[in-house]
């Protein structure tokens, strides 16, 4: 038995996923070098710091990987409770930075990034014991709904709109799995829309409302929220088919977008590598996500499957929101592009997700 476990570990290591992730990380870092070379605020340290976080991320992923994922199943609720406690702590003691109270350790640690994973673990634990295919009534969704609502509510209270929306989307990643009839979906949609309207009216600050309105009507205020959107489109557009070349982007190197190393990293990629480069990166990224779903399919238990799907969600939704924002398809909300944007917490959270996916993959169902 012991021998079998040991053998499985080595033999079934998922080189494919690891390879894709390493490729994306390398592209992300190359891109960041260029974004930083333009001399954005704190420019000279950016690459070095990102590299040390990458190193830390590799270690964290390694640790996450060696512990059989079913142990996470056992402790899912404990981990979830821990992440909620961190969110509460943040709410209690964090100082306001950039209009939000979402960071600890003077802006270096963002607990909400890790709460997403705690939430996914709790949901997977729940669905592992209550298989989604058996869930037919809306009221069966109340418990998992609460698992999602709690962190989302706390993150809204931190006034971190971007991550709140993100967490909500990740939480709903598992919804398509359940067998709830159509009219129930409509009900959810109506409640959701009402909730969003209420959030917009009462939960958002003036400038956040402004951003959304600015997105719907870019001419509304060309110099602030609409500006970034317009500027991002110019940067992407000036890339053309082949791009301007690494470190050659006029928009990038003149720093028209102050957050080009974080939220707008993809605009740098699109400008300097053009359609061919950025479409390739998107394709590789999609491949990583689809591979994640394949891991879910091959997992040996429902917990593993549900966890893998949730983890794919933690990688899909930030990328979807971020790229949509850069391409002018969504309002400007501060969500980083996993593996590409500069930022420690998001990168570490992505490393944990990937470590868990590799974990499930190498302990997959073997015939």
């Amino acid at each position: 038995m012991e021998l079998k476990v040991e053998r499985k570990r080595g033999q079934h290591f998922d080189w494919m996923l690891a390879g894709i992730v390493i490729a994306l990380t390398a592209m992300g870092l190359t891109n960041l070098v260029s974004a930083a070379a333009s001399g954005v605020e704190g420019g000279s340290d950016i690459v070095g710091r990102q590299m040390s976080v990458l190193g830390l991320g590799a270690i964290v992923a390694g640790i996450v990987l060696v512990i059989d994922y079913r142990h996470y199943d056992r402790f899912a609720y404990v981990i979830y409770a821990g992440s909620i406690a961190l969110l509460l702590l943040t709410l209690a003691i964090a100082e306001e930075t950039r209009g939000a109270r979402a960071w600890l350790f003077s802006g270096r640690f963002q607990p909400s990034e890790f709460a997403k994973i705690g939430m996914v673990l709790a949901l997977a634990h729940y669905f592992g014991r209550n298989p989604p295919s058996g869930i037919r009534r809306i009221r069966d969704l109340i418990v998992p709904g609460l698992f999602v609502a709690l962190p989302v509510g706390l993150i809204v209270a931190q006034k971190d709109l971007g991550v709140a929306v993100l967490t909500l989307l990740i939480g709903s990643t598992l919804l398509p799995l359940v067998n709830v009839p159509l009219r129930a979906w409509i009900g959810i949609a109506v409640v959701g829309a009402a909730g969003f309207a209420a959030l917009f009216q009462y939960g958002l600050k003036g400038y956040q409302q402004e951003r959304i309105l600015g997105f719907l009507d870019p001419s509304r205020d060309p110099l602030s929220s609409g500006y970034q959107q317009m500027q991002s489109k110019i940067a992407v557009g000036s890339g053309g088919l082949f791009g301007t070349g690494w470190q050659e982007g006029t928009q990038t190197q003149l720093r028209f977008l102050p957050t080009q190393h974080t939220d707008f990293a993809f605009s740098v990629l699109a400008e300097e590598w053009g359609f061919l480069g950025s479409a390739l990166v998107l394709a590789v990224y999609a491949m990583m996500l689809l591979w994640g779903l394949l891991i879910a399919r091959n997992s040996k238990d429902t917990f593993g499957a549900a966890l893998a799907i949730g983890l794919v969600g933690t990688l899909l939704w930030p990328a979807a929101i971020n790229v949509a924002m850069v391409l002018g398809l969504a309002p400007v909300i501060g969500v980083p592009l996993p593996l590409f944007s500069y930022g420690g917490s998001a990168l570490l959270s992505a490393a944990i997700s990937i470590g868990l996916l590799l974990n499930i993959s190498m302990r997959r169902y073997v015939f």
């Binding site: 038995m1 012991e2 476990v5 040991e6 512990i67 059989d68 079913r70 142990h71 199943d73 056992r74 298989p131 295919s133 990643t173 398509p176 799995l177 500006y227 317009m230 500027q231 110019i234 992407v236 557009g237 000036s238 890339g239 053309g240 088919l241 470190q247 006029t250 928009q251 190197q253 003149l254 720093r255 028209f256 699109a270 359609f275 950025s278 479409a279 998107l282 394709a283 999609a286 996500l289 779903l293 399919r297 091959n298 997992s299 040996k300 238990d301 429902t302 593993g304 499957a305 549900a306 799907i309 794919v312 899909l316 979807a320 790229v323 949509a324 391409l327 002018g328 398809l329 169902y365």
Partner: protein, 648 residues
């Protein structure tokens, strides 16, 4: 066994490949990324053309706003190099309608031949069509006004404002400040210049190059919406440039000016002096003045120097572009005797009372070495030998010490290797040894060479700045300091970023009492009645120094010629190295006048004197009165007294 938790506590009831529906999720992933790629295609391929070119009526043009290059100021924050706004004109080939008509109009405004403009623009293809071709970087006011007036009638002609370098004192300290110029293809490839783009101005030599990163600043830009005629319709975005940082030099403008003036000939009939001068603070290495003559007007480089002017400067036989103070190598001549004296004392070969009788010549084997004073100095001790620059005394001393010992001490003083001054192009000089001769020439060392060496002739080579560092060692009691050119770096608005700390490369290289004895001899050179350096005297200050006169060619070549008849390039170099005040030295000055046609005492000492005089004039009030100083230092004539004040 290897699982830290053990499997026992895990649910082993794997429920098999899960029956979850994956396809909706996969469909969502695929749909999202397909939408993104379609959107990218739309922005980059379909609309991208509109943004980059002018297939539509309006398009976006990005105009780079160059940052002002940071100011260079002296230690009292007086501006030496600044930036001034200037106007330039570019042509964007792709936007030119009717090129020939345009070139002739431009030609008449700029006073240039239309064909020359046409050649310059050429027939670029591909991306090159959008690349601006610069016609002028510094337009006179009238031309600028005329061009501005015709602006909209001349699509493709771009008038822009860009800061230009302005060297306030033109040719003052040009080689130290260095040159600027357009970055070239090779530099663009180098790692040091990542994120530079072609056409940018960079420091090429001197302080400008050594502090390129600091002085550069950050360019800004504007995104303009322009119509077909290039008219600006709207401004979408603007990033203001950040000016480059301020650089505070250790240089003192007053001293620098005095030092420059020292090279100007008193006699209008005579050409100005050539050579170099370095003034150092012996304690921290501050480069208070650095002159290399002849110089050139640094402003010639400000707007990008044209080929003709550059060729002229570069091929000038007097080599004005070369910084002689750090890159010029000269035999140190008799200034080297201070080093030999220190070696003799330290090795115990001589002491202050050791006497040598100079009859005007010295014999080694069959060869006779002459003292510069044909009649001889008579019997001299060390102080007298230094004061009168007696060659025979040092021939004897050098013979006893031997070449290896001489070389060892020369190196202790920092000779024969770069001083580490933070400017490119420093020469290392040469301390010859038998090993060196064998390696480079494949010949054995001849004892006679040691004799030449001991009076600073022969293969011995030093740079002026090395000599200044060596004399600073005597002045400060044994510390080899690294010359410091830059005092501190500040942001453009004066916030201190970095203070450059002084660097001591070696401590206590020679025992202090020995240096005090050498100083005593050097003091006599300037202060004693028979001293060779009396023309370096500054009223009220005790100056120590040493003259040097170095042969450029073998004596046989000029034997029997009248001084005026000797061709300039055969004339001797004149050197003088000094520090003052002896009681607690504050400044070291080394001057070298190339092919001066006069001795170090006659030509170079007065040059050093001018700088010292200016220095002490400036801090008048703190200087002890003339009387007190004389009393303190020289109770009687040349009698050897223990140094009361000593050196610090």
């Amino acid at each position: 066994m290897n699982d830290p938790f053990g499997d026992a506590r895990l649910s082993n009831t794997s429920d098999g490949p899960s029956a979850l529906r994956m396809w909706p999720m996969a469909a969502i992933v695929v749909a999202i990324f397909v939408i993104f790629i379609v959107r990218l295609f739309q922005l980059q391929i379909l609309e991208g053309e509109d943004l980059a070119s002018r297939s539509q009526a309006n398009y976006v043009r990005t105009v780079r706003l160059e940052a002002q290059r940071g100011a260079i100021v002296d230690r009292e924050e007086r501006t030496i190099a600044a930036s001034r706004p200037a106007y330039g004109v570019d042509i964007i080939p792709h936007e030119i309608r009717n090129p020939w008509r345009m070139y002739s109009v431009l030609g008449s405004i700029l006073g240039r031949d239309p064909t020359e403009i046409a050649d310059k623009v050429g027939q670029p293809t591909g991306r090159g069509r959008f690349k601006p071709v610069s016609l002028s970087k510094d337009l006179p006011l009238v031309e600028r006004a005329q061009l501005a007036g015709h602006r909209y009638a001349m699509p493709g002609v771009e008038l822009y404002r860009k800061p230009l370098r302005d060297y306030v004192y033109r040719s003052m300290g040009s080689q130290l400040l260095g040159t600027i110029g357009e970055i070239d293809a090779r530099e663009l490839e180098a790692d040091t210049f990542t994120n530079y783009r072609s056409g940018e101005t960079i420091g090429k030599t001197g302080v400008e190059a050594a502090n390129e990163r600091h002085l550069r600043g950050q360019a800004g830009g504007v995104n303009l919406v322009v119509d077909v005629a290039g008219r600006e319709i709207d401004e979408i975005a603007r990033r203001e440039p950040t000016p480059g940082g301020r650089l505070v030099l250790a240089m003192d403008l007053d001293l620098q000016q005095a030092a420059e003036a020292a090279f100007i000939s008193d006699d209008p009939e005579q050409p100005n002096r050539m050579g170099a001068l370095v003034a150092l603070d012996p304690w921290n290495g501050d480069v208070l003045a650095m002159v290399s003559a002849p110089s050139y007007d640094a402003n010639a480089f400000a707007g990008g120097i044209d080929r003709k002017a550059w060729n002229a400067l570069n091929s000038d036989p007097l080599r004005p572009l070369r910084n002689r103070a750090i890159a010029g190598v000269y035999p140190p001549g008799s200034t080297y005797k201070a080093v030999v004296a220190a070696a003799g004392l330290a090795e115990g070969v001589i002491d202050g009372t050791t006497e040598v009788t100079c009859l005007g010549h010295f014999r080694l084997g069959r060869r006779v070495y002459r003292c510069w004073k044909r009649g001889g100095h008579g019997t001299v001790d060390l102080e007298g030998a230094l004061a009168g620059s007696c060659d025979v005394y040092f021939y004897e001393l050098g013979k006893v010490l031997g070449v290896e010992t001489l070389a060892r001490y020369a190196r202790l003083f920092g000779l024969g290797s770069r001083t580490g001054v933070a400017i490119r192009g420093e020469a290392g000089g040469l301390v010859p040894t038998p090993e060196w001769k064998m390696r480079t020439r494949g010949e054995r060392w001849i004892d006679g060479e040691t004799i030449s060496l001991s009076i600073g002739q022969g293969a011995n080579l030093t740079t002026p700045i090395q000599l200044a560092v060596a004399y600073a060692v005597i002045a400060n009691g044994g510390q080899v300091v690294e010359p410091r050119v830059v005092l501190r770096r500040e942001t453009w608005d004066g916030e201190v970023i970095e203070e450059v700390s002084p660097v001591v490369r070696a401590e206590n290289v020679i025992a202090r009492p020995i240096l005090e004895m050498v100083t005593q001899g050097l003091t006599s050179v300037v202060m004693a009645p028979g001293g060779t350096g009396r023309r370096a005297q500054v009223p009220g200050i005790t100056v120590a120094g040493k003259s040097g006169t170095t042969q450029v060619v073998s004596l046989d070549l000029v034997e029997g010629m009248e001084p005026e008849d000797i061709p300039v390039r055969y004339r001797d170099h004149a050197l003088f190295a000094a520090f003052a005040p002896v009681e607690s030295p504050e400044i070291v000055v080394v001057a070298i006048a190339e092919h001066a046609g006069g001795g170090g005492g006659a030509v170079a000492a007065p040059m050093v004197q001018k700088v010292l005089a200016r220095y002490f004039q400036k801090r008048e009030g703190q200087v002890p009165s003339q009387l007190a100083a004389l009393e303190l230092r020289f109770p009687s004539s040349l009698a050897i007294e223990p140094m009361s004040g000593g050196i610090r």
